[in-house]
Symmetry: C2
Subunit: 443 residues, 2 copies
């Protein structure tokens, strides 16, 4: 039994919780607006009023709508340090400056709510340690897929289960681009241009299209799902720049759509040891898989767990309002704990798994290549796969109008390094004129 | 600021949490198996070991696999009362006996985890009051859609948002039956027989096919989503017994599938007062709506919130394993609080909304009727709708092989009572030979 069960203390019920907001961009503005508009709901749900103490911004001279000018300050450190600030909401973006502020807040005994995936994915250990030492909460639901409650689901709802695999569309910009390519037959450049014009892609789209944003989210999901530390740098990451309209068409013919997936899985290596792998790459998803019908800029996370089976969570994974929803849900949680006592389940990396080398992971390849048009070429190339122990699931041989033989091969699951080396060998083979594309399948 | 912030107490860290399980059916057996199999994971996630103190069953003479015979007892009350029991897991079923046991547990200061939707939907106030008075937790994630984390999402993730509407497929049995009717053109009786043969439907399928099971879940979702009390008896409930293969075919032709939905919404009445409505009825869902593609016995919950927008959660909504996953997730939460202090967000009905009369709710009707074949009948019947202020979205007139004129009308949104009275008037009209079916649309 629990000998000395702490009792529920309501000694702070009714007392206000002081809130500091750092950053007043799209999300910050919406958070501040909703805090004011729904203040009575927040009071009722927390057990005491949430009171805004101040908003730290870069440029204090800029007019800010919807907030008392006296609330605006350029001195974030001084705002955080105020005795009447209990919870700090970090919505700045970037890594180094918010890291400094979040650490200062945690060390000063303030709970922190952040939407900053890059910060959490790069410095999780340091942040968790600071929260632990001060006995405060660090919440970051908004860092993964905005209002889709991925963090809560992994940390709490599935806390009694064994997660086997998490795969998700966690970047809306790239899903929008791929969806345009799939549904309208566009090329990558044209689809990117539309995404930029509509505000889905930034002027410099690198973080999205090269998969870095998705990699941060994959790192966070893998850490939570497998109770281990996976940092951004541990995630194998490939973006969508090289996907062509021809790839999309070939995938369609084979019964797939191409999605940029973040995939997190626990693997067992040849020596029987568990390890964790997190990766982001364009992936062929069978058309009847729930992730295949996630269109436009929507996000969805597909979780496979031992007892729960397959679960999918779908919604807007970005944008000011959905991100504000997640931030405010966390703010209610952090504030409730300030009022009623208790802490959210914190960082927990007890499983302490090594990061699997990407070469050790089992994947499947869809290889689209041009081969010489001679008798026996199919047999010879098949032998190349067989020699490596790779079995083929489907082989499609076509002849295009110029009389060039095209070979499209879908492999069964095999070790990534073996598949990779086999493709390299094919490229050197005199039978192969050109390898058009190599895209992995969702296993 | 929070003047007297309670600090994080780890005074029980490492100490065992004593667990009593009441009931050893499919779910109980799985819970006990997983607790033993993954004991080290539970210890790490809770902060102390979970130790099974006993399992209360009806029939102690029956052999029980996977549990030490000494753990088995027929005296549930004595098990609950043991000093070394901290958390009670109720998995009995029924209402009166589990109610008595859950109340006894809460009043004795034990936190309770239950999967019993009927109990929670019928006696929420009494249970919440007992939990509140003892300062313990009452968890019931498994009561709604098993491992799909509906309760956690409504109570925690969306706690900073304003939920507008919840609609969901929350009964796997009826979804399986309707899916068979949709995909294989079966009649209701044939589809029910298959569901029974496969174990999806019970020998007496009343609770499922008449919508009672879904109504319990709708009551719970409405209570959580709108911070008010909705009991089972407050839910307007219609089942699927009267749905025919012809209804399914007519819906298909109009671009819909028929699903049994639980719908919870906040409405504003003619006097400008807010009220809550929860209802269960067969519903036409547009084929491109995410709920339309939820097949077989899967469940899905679609939530619309002010800031988050639309979210959908999909998975297995029933079965021993998924239910055990939800129970164990709750058990980790309740046990963490016993070890570390703090409480889960409890029952909170501050909004205290009245239950809207179903007649006041706005719905839409799909009406399939046989009419006399004379010039001007369409114009006359349209006038009947117009006189009631009901505008029509689509009207389709067909002539079948017997020369009987069929009229299929889809209305725009109107007050349920007005739509209902209009259909009654149509039935009495000499122009209408027969009203084949009236099915509501998801607005």
């Amino acid at each position: 039994m629990v000998a000395n069960s702490p009792t529920y203390t309501e000694n702070n019920a009714g007392k206000p919780v002081g809130i500091a907001v750092l950053g007043m961009g799209t999300v910050g503005t919406e958070v501040i607006r909703l805090l004011a508009e729904n203040s009575e709901d927040f009071r009722q749900r927390v057990g005491g009023p949430l009171e805004l103490r101040g908003v730290a911004v870069d440029d204090t001279s800029k007019p800010r709508r919807g907030v008392d000018p006296e609330m605006i300050t350029g001195d974030a450190h001084a705002l955080i340090a105020r005795d009447d600030v209990d919870v700090v909401v970090e919505l700045i973006g970037g890594i180094e400056y918010p890291r400094e502020l979040v650490l200062a807040a945690l060390r000063a005994g303030k709970s922190v709510v952040t939407a900053n995936k890059a910060l959490v994915a790069a410095h999780a250990d340091e942040l968790a340690q600071a929260a632990e030492e001060s006995g405060v909460d660090l919440y970051f639901e908004a860092a993964v897929a905005a209002a889709i409650p991925v963090v809560g689901m992994l940390r709490r709802s599935l806390a009694g289960d064994q997660i086997q695999r998490i795969s998700g569309i966690v970047n809306g910009t790239t899903n929008f681009i791929l969806d345009k390519m799939i549904t309208e037959g566009m090329g990558y450049d044209e689809a990117l241009q539309i995404a930029t014009d509509l505000g889905y892609a930034e002027a410099d789209p690198t973080a999205d299209v090269d998969g870095h944003d998705a990699a941060s989210k994959a790192a966070i999901m893998a850490s939570l799902g497998f109770y281990t530390r996976v940092n951004f740098k541990d995630v194998h990451c490939e973006g969508i720049r090289d996907i062509t309209a021809a790839d999309i068409a070939a995938a369609d013919k084979a019964g797939y759509v191409i999605k940029l997936l973040g995939i997190c899985e626990k693997i067992t290596d040849d020596q029987g040891n568990d390890a964790v792998n997190a990766r982001v790459h364009p992936t062929l998803v069978a058309k009847d898989h729930p992730l295949a019908s996630v269109n436009e800029s929507y996000n969805a996370i597909f979780v496979e767990a031992e007892a729960a089976g397959s679960l999918m969570f779908y919604g807007n994974g970005a944008g000011g309002d959905p991100t504000a929803s997640a931030v405010l849900g966390d703010l209610v949680g952090a504030s409730r704990n300030k009022v009623h006592g208790g802490r959210a389940p914190g960082d927990n990396t007890y499983a302490n798994l090594p990061i699997a080398d990407f070469g050790e992971v089992h994947t499947r390849y869809h290889i689209d290549m041009e081969v010489v048009d001679r008798a026996g070429v199919l047999s010879d190339l098949s032998a190349t796969f067989a020699q490596q122990g790779i079995s083929l699931r489907t082989v499609r041989q076509e002849e295009n109008e110029d009389g060039i033989a095209r070979l499209i091969v879908v492999t069964h699951s095999a070790k990534e390094s073996v598949l990779h080396d086999t493709v390299e060998a094919l490229k050197k083979s005199s039978d192969v004129k050109k390898v058009h594309s190599v895209i992995r399948l969702d296993v």
